[in-house]
Point group: C3
Chain length 377, copies 3
């Protein structure tokens, strides 16, 4: 792509018609800015809407919708190429401060939804939560703007593609998610972490870290998901979370379960004595406040919502509401002597979990919830 | 009023009798203090209890109770004058640090409740949340106090008036609400913002601001409200919030809806590029934690609960529990160049809303919740 | 006990067999460390598992399980001695920074559970939340550890005793609770405060205080408790809190009720003008966020989760999630003159309560919840 700024919104197929998406293509096109090339690293990501089935560690399955990447480089998929199944969360996107970021959203439809479901042809967008973007790239439909027709942004319809572009200025942890019918679309799984790295490797807000993990907390009501798949409608006042998730998974007491949090290399926190681990806590819950509690370690809270804290503080239990992010450092202190048993964990394993006990009983059973382990060598 | 400190509690009409209000008049009278005049600005507010009907933007209506002001100056109503209908929230009261504040609560009864409802003759008070007042002006009924008879303060009965008086010492954002049967009375709508301004205009905690908005978050269960209106009783364990409110309103996707948040000049945040907007976030929820998230802007948290923060911090999503207040500054950064798309929003519109997704589905439908817009010129 | 470090795990009675507890005795024994004696003060505590009935201030009773102490010195009970009934919360344990702490957990069974309840023979542990201990003393069952067989720690079975030992390094407020089937065991009442005092009396994090109170917030669903007692199983998705507790109690409007919070010397905050009161706020909720709001006073938050805050802040309403602790100072300001009514409460009584209104309606009635009083002389 020689000059990404000049790349216009592409409508690959004919746009499905309907009131909600009326004019979306043309209007979005108008938002593209024409400017000269600049000497910034360009990072391009192609995300495709896809739906499918997600299996939890208790063997239950549910309908989900997510953003998928054709490959690990987020390259554009060749015409007709098969897309990966969606995951919870959607792939983590990583950029660097000052990058010229281009994200293409390809709406490939909902092949697993019932054809007569009202959900089958809904539009989608991407909202880069915390990036503080201009409206054209903010992913919100229907916001009135002076000088522009009403329903400027009705979202990207099935078969269309839209390009989001921006230059991140603040390092830290963010998230991206759909902002069409947000409660439903987000809760179906349309979210992922968006990480802005600083200029210096293994450094955040001026602090050094040796390892980093993103822990993404979310909720699902599988009755909601099934209703959306089949009918496209759900009485949201009936919402009843039955799955509390860490990186899309629950823990179960079967330690060999391949779908458990502890079989997930993104969720098991591996480190060596003396190292410092950066945890990026991200939350996209319905209304549950996650109370993240690692055993064996206190956490130094150094930043929140993509901004450095002037006065860091220590916690062993951090409440996190939907949309919040906490960047915390965990020093893996060496066990200096055998008597000082509380001065750090040393080698071995310890657990970390939601301490809001209601969040540890997915599908009605303890300890099925966002629980994982620190594995220290 | 020549010497407000000497003004005694007035019982304008005969007091309804009953166990709860037994002796309230005499006891309250005893709490009035006789002191000499002082050279402080005197600010007097007359608040009247009134009930009525409140219509949401989805066309549904519910029974509410609130404090109303006869006019914008909060003057005493002439005898027999008609009172305005109640609003959600009740009128915002604004005073200045060092003012001698006098608030008269006139209990004018509940003309819209069923006559045989147990609610028809309940007492009311005002609790100035965060003002840290002596018990006589704290609005709490039935607190035992040494040397005083039990049931000192049973609240202000129908037909009576009571004077609250105090001198605010700390600038910031507070709230006032009834403290009789608080869960029910507050949730019916008996709350409003109470703002203490500093000595210097457009300055809070030493920070300059150009504009300010109070965003008051609350919840309602309309089945509760109707049960109170008709019977005066509700099984509170059955509470099920069906309206999540911002300044008493929900948003709907009909942008011309006159009852929507975005038709409310108190809720639409208007500003110009380069300005700084002070948002006073106030919450009186049942148990929902509001996660306030403005798109396009980070917020600098400079004070909480009427106290300056020594170490301010930045957030794009702020969790707020019932009774909390956050004073935050939003710099409306000018869009300095077209490439730096994430360096501030510039002119145009962006949204702000509760990110706890359960709070965005009032009456079971998204996006009916506390959502409003920034409109930047 | 001449050398507590050498004291091995004692199995006083034959161990009940079963998959869950397989090998627990031997494996736990292996975790004991043999070291020489050190010049540290030794503090020994014997805790016994006991179950029973708990009566709330509204006259309702529920099945609870807790840790009990034989006497106020936590001494070992003589063989055959009767144990006290369990309380909510379990006894507060107090140690000092640098103490060599030994806590013996004696699992004396569940004599009040139905014999055929699946709960009758479950194991228990102690997790010292925030102490950051090595796995052997962390109280978590079944965590895999390299070089050790699976199911290392299945918990302490009925009839067994296990010794936990550690040296607290950070002063502050902690909690201890069972970590077997945590949601159920904790919510049945298996929790208490664990206080680590600093070296200097009446000083915390370098701040002086005159009095201190521990306010422990928790929740119960009595249907859950009864199901566990009779069957040992509960569909946790049906959880519906019907009691919101402060130090195990609710408030009622009967001021002479001996089971009310205000009849509890641990919960009524007594102080004199001019003093500073330290409140240790501790929470072990299901998912309710307690919003602690004292009338009449702001609180200076000086530490959280056992760590001093570099930048303290003031609040009048503090949200607290399960597992969190807040150490706050309340200056009981003298009422310096009669005009400055908001400069402090002076002598008398004022209330303090959860401002999340849903938390004030235990058993469906206001004001039955975590409400107590400041009583200032």
């Amino acid at each position: 792509m020689s000059n990404p700024w000049m790349r216009s919104v592409l409508l690959r197929t004919s746009i499905a018609t309907g009131l909600l998406i009326l004019g979306a293509g043309v209007l979005l096109l108008g938002a593209a800015t024409r400017t000269g090339a600049v000497a910034r690293p360009v990072k391009t990501f192609h995300l495709y809407v896809n739906d499918g089935e997600w299996e939890f560690a208790d063997g239950e399955k549910t309908y989900i919708v997510g953003y998928v990447a054709y490959n690990s480089k987020f390259e554009e998929a060749p015409p007709g190429a098969a897309l990966p199944a969606p995951t919870i969360p959607s792939p983590e996107i990583r950029v660097r401060v000052g990058d010229e970021v281009h994200v293409f959203l390809h709406h490939n439809g909902h092949s697993h939804a019932a054809k007569d479901s009202a959900f089958a042809n809904v539009t989608h967008t991407i909202h880069f939560h915390g990036m503080d973007l201009v409206q054209a790239y903010d992913g919100v439909p229907g916001v009135p703007a002076e000088g522009l027709p009403a329903k400027l942004l009705s979202g990207v319809p099935v078969g269309a593609v839209y390009e989001y572009k921006f230059v991140p200025e603040y390092e830290g942890s963010y998230l991206y998610h759909c902002h069409i019918d947000s409660s439903t679309h987000i809760l179906l799984g349309m979210y992922g972490a968006f990480i802005v790295e600083g200029k210096k490797p293994n450094t955040i807000y001026g602090y050094h870290y040796d390892r980093e993990y993103t822990l993404f907390f979310s909720e699902m009501d599988t009755a909601h998901n099934e209703a959306i798949r089949t009918r496209g409608d759900y009485e949201m006042l009936k919402w009843k979370t039955d799955y509390y998730l860490l990186n899309g998974r629950i823990f179960t007491d079967d330690l060999t379960n391949p779908r458990s949090t502890i079989a997930d290399p993104r969720s098991v926190i591996r480190a060596k004595e003396g190292e410092t681990v950066l945890l990026r806590l991200v939350d996209a819950s319905f209304s549950h406040v996650t109370a993240f509690h690692p055993h064996a370690y206190h956490m130094k809270v150094i930043g929140m919502d993509g901004r450095k804290l002037d006065s860091p503080y220590w916690k062993d239990t951090i409440p996190i509401a939907s949309g919040e992010r906490y960047d915390v450092l965990v020093p893996i202190i060496q066990k200096r002597n055998t008597l000082c048993l509380s001065c750090g964990f040393g080698k071995g394993m310890s657990i970390a979990h939601d301490h809001n006990l209601g969040g540890m009983v997915s599908s009605g059973k303890y300890p099925r919830g966002p629980l994982t382990v620190f594995a220290v060598e």
